[in-house]
Chain length 416, copies 2
């Protein structure tokens, strides 16, 4: 198989399909989404059998990866429900607004438009195949999907349902293409075909994302670390401070919006840290503290600089006591990953300073960092969470897969 | 000189300065802009002398480049006026909006924030140095400027004024740094220092931009071709059609928003083309037509496929007769550069189809393509016109140099 020729063909088809998707109306796109959901439910047994075939060959995967590869009847139901939910969201494409007259007489505004062709590279997680296809269809884009090869058979089975749904709605089946070869060279082509691909979204571990970002010529919407902080100010409400710090760390350990470092103002450390440490101890969370923390919590392990830069994704928490808000902000901007950071305070001026100066995609006052995701933000679904500053920051939903063009309404105006 | 070490130092300083710029208030930034304007006017003689030194050494430049390198008293006055105009624009940084309550109780909105550090690479045009510095200061960014080496002395003189103005306002002089070495390796470092640079804006010819885009690891906001079209529909008002087609081509030949290809519906070609051809002939515009055009305008040169893909930047116009709106849109999306395209029509439905389906950064109805620039759009000034789809499309002003972060106001909410 000539990988380059194959990928060029996939790219050309995607570009052609993207033009048709861009002009598809809302009802047509929703019809496709609902038809795909119907097909997935109807073919549940086929999907489960394909997934079993994948699982049988995936002995070498780690347990966490196997867990993501496995689908059940419930997974299929939730894929279908996800597609129906995307169908129920407002269509961002063609939204217009901000029309103002200019002194020349022209009336200037903006229209929301699809990006074009979106390449998505992800691990062996079949549910991502359905989610990503759904988001790209609704946002009027064509997409090229490259899932982990361990999910090959299940992805192919899902792809049949997707292409059936597209055809039922009269949309091109090539609007969603799944790369058929396990050859890694296909990824190299995908991320460099600027002529055919407008943006790449890698979904997976940091090393996969970093490698793709380093080699891509196509723009990448990427998510690297989630090193999130909660800062407990000296004017924090202790009840909110403890509830938020508990929730941000222990609600789920493996998510990118989980708190990894807790910052505490020195004047409230003795008040807040002991009861909080008791909660963490009861839940089996290992604490690693700075020198000042060890003075308050003597039986705690010492943190090193490396801890400030680590995304544990595990029941481990770094704690640092700071002498003021400026030191907290400086720590977050230096060691954080510009993902999600929260302050707990009752002080109006300090809350404004934190919001303004913390350079992260989500900045919160008196709320758990765990809220930073597409569902909680009402985006309906997310293709990922961007830690970039260009184009999209934070959870990327339908709007993040679109752009805006300028619209001019004239009446024969010419430039003088 | 160790270029890598030098550029790392420049980058580190820019990153540090960007933090201070991000939190600078509107009044402070405006004070700096006005102080720079004052210094430029005061040092006019020094600037002119430095520019003379540059001009004396620039024998090898083409006349058009020499023209851009030359500054006069008037250039200096207009640089100063430009900076004062930027000072008078609303500050985009810190703008907040769209706050809505979510079912969880959190209130979610967005805040506009600077991108951070912006690298600008441009030709030997001293006025760009002042414009770019002004836009970056107002938008709360730090910037690293790399101008054409032929403008070395003049850029250094402008840089002194910029750094004086920053200091007067209490802002870091390193917020605007001009690369001091003519060594090209400095550009290679600038466009790959992802740790210190958030976005690169190349301003110059297509080959410069394409080379930078190919080698950059930092995201690039780029402008490639301006192959703009006017399509005269069969339901066009002939008076508007002729005025717009004249203006879009002949108002200025060398600008990126100048029309390069005229598309005409076949049923009005015999009505519109002869009088239009007479206007073009009187202004010395060479016409190159498709086969159908040659039947209407027999003394015209024949166009080849290459003409559809050429940005002439000269008094040359390609003309194609099409049989309907679909063919016009197909031609524009295939051969255009996604910059600016206009339809002339009185038909409501066709105007909507054109606006929706033409995939360009500016799409117009009954107006000249020449309106597509930052001043006409009311952005006050522009750092360039983006033909990308990601982040910023079309004229890039202050808002294009910013991003938005999510803001959450809570009252102790935790995720259930």
């Amino acid at each position: 198989m000539d990988i380059k020729a194959y990928m060029q063909q996939v790219g050309r088809q995607a570009r052609a399909a993207s033009r048709l998707m861009a002009k598809a109306d809302t009802q047509t796109k929703n019809q496709a989404l609902n038809a795909i959901a119907d097909a997935l439910l109807r073919d549940a047994d086929t999907l489960l059998a394909a997934n079993k075939r994948d699982m049988d060959q995936a002995h070498e995967l780690e347990p966490a990866m196997l867990d993501r590869l496995l689908i059940t009847s419930q997974t299929i139901e939730s894929m279908a429900a996800g597609l129906r939910q995307i169908a129920s969201l407002p269509d961002p494409v063609g939204e217009m607004g901000d029309f103002k007259f200019r002194p020349s007489g022209i009336q200037l505004g903006k229209m929301r438009v699809p990006l074009g062709v979106i390449g998505i590279i992800y691990e062996a997680r079949p549910n991502v195949t359905a989610d990503a296809a759904g988001l790209c269809i609704k946002s009027g884009n064509a997409t090229i999907l490259r899932g982990g090869r361990e999910a090959f058979y299940c992805n192919q089975a899902i792809a049949l349902c997707v292409s059936e749904g597209l055809k039922i709605a009269g949309l091109p089946a090539t609007a969603v293409q799944i790369i058929e070869t396990p050859d890694r060279a296909a990824v190299g082509e995908l991320i460099t075909m600027c002529k055919f691909v407008d943006v790449i979204v890698p979904r997976g571990g940091k090393s996969l994302t970093a490698r793709i970002a380093a080699d891509a010529r196509v723009p990448v919407i990427k998510h690297l670390d989630g090193i999130c902080h909660v800062y407990i100010d000296d004017e924090a409400d202790p009840v909110k401070a403890i509830a938020i710090s508990d929730n941000a760390k222990t609600h789920r350990y493996g998510t990118c919006n989980t708190m990894e470092t807790l910052l505490v103002h020195e004047t409230v450390a003795e008040l807040i840290l002991p009861p909080l440490a008791a909660i963490y101890a009861a839940k089996g969370v290992e604490l690693r503290g700075c020198a000042k923390t060890l003075a308050v919590l003597p039986h705690t392990n010492a943190a090193t600089e490396e801890d400030w830069a680590t995304e544990y994704l595990a029941p481990i928490l770094a704690i640092k006591i700071v002498s003021d808000l400026d030191e907290a902000i400086e720590h977050i901007n230096t060691w954080g990953s510009h993902h999600t950071d929260a302050i707990v305070t009752e002080n109006y001026t300090k809350s404004r300073q934190f919001l303004r100066e913390v350079d992260s995609s989500s900045v919160m006052v008196n709320a758990s960092t765990r809220f930073a995701d597409g569902f909680e933000y009402g985006l309906g679904a997310e293709i990922g969470i961007s830690t970039d500053k260009i184009h999209a920051r934070g959870p990327v939903g339908l709007n993040g897969l679109t752009s805006e063009k300028w619209i001019v309404f004239g009446n024969g105006e010419i430039r003088r």
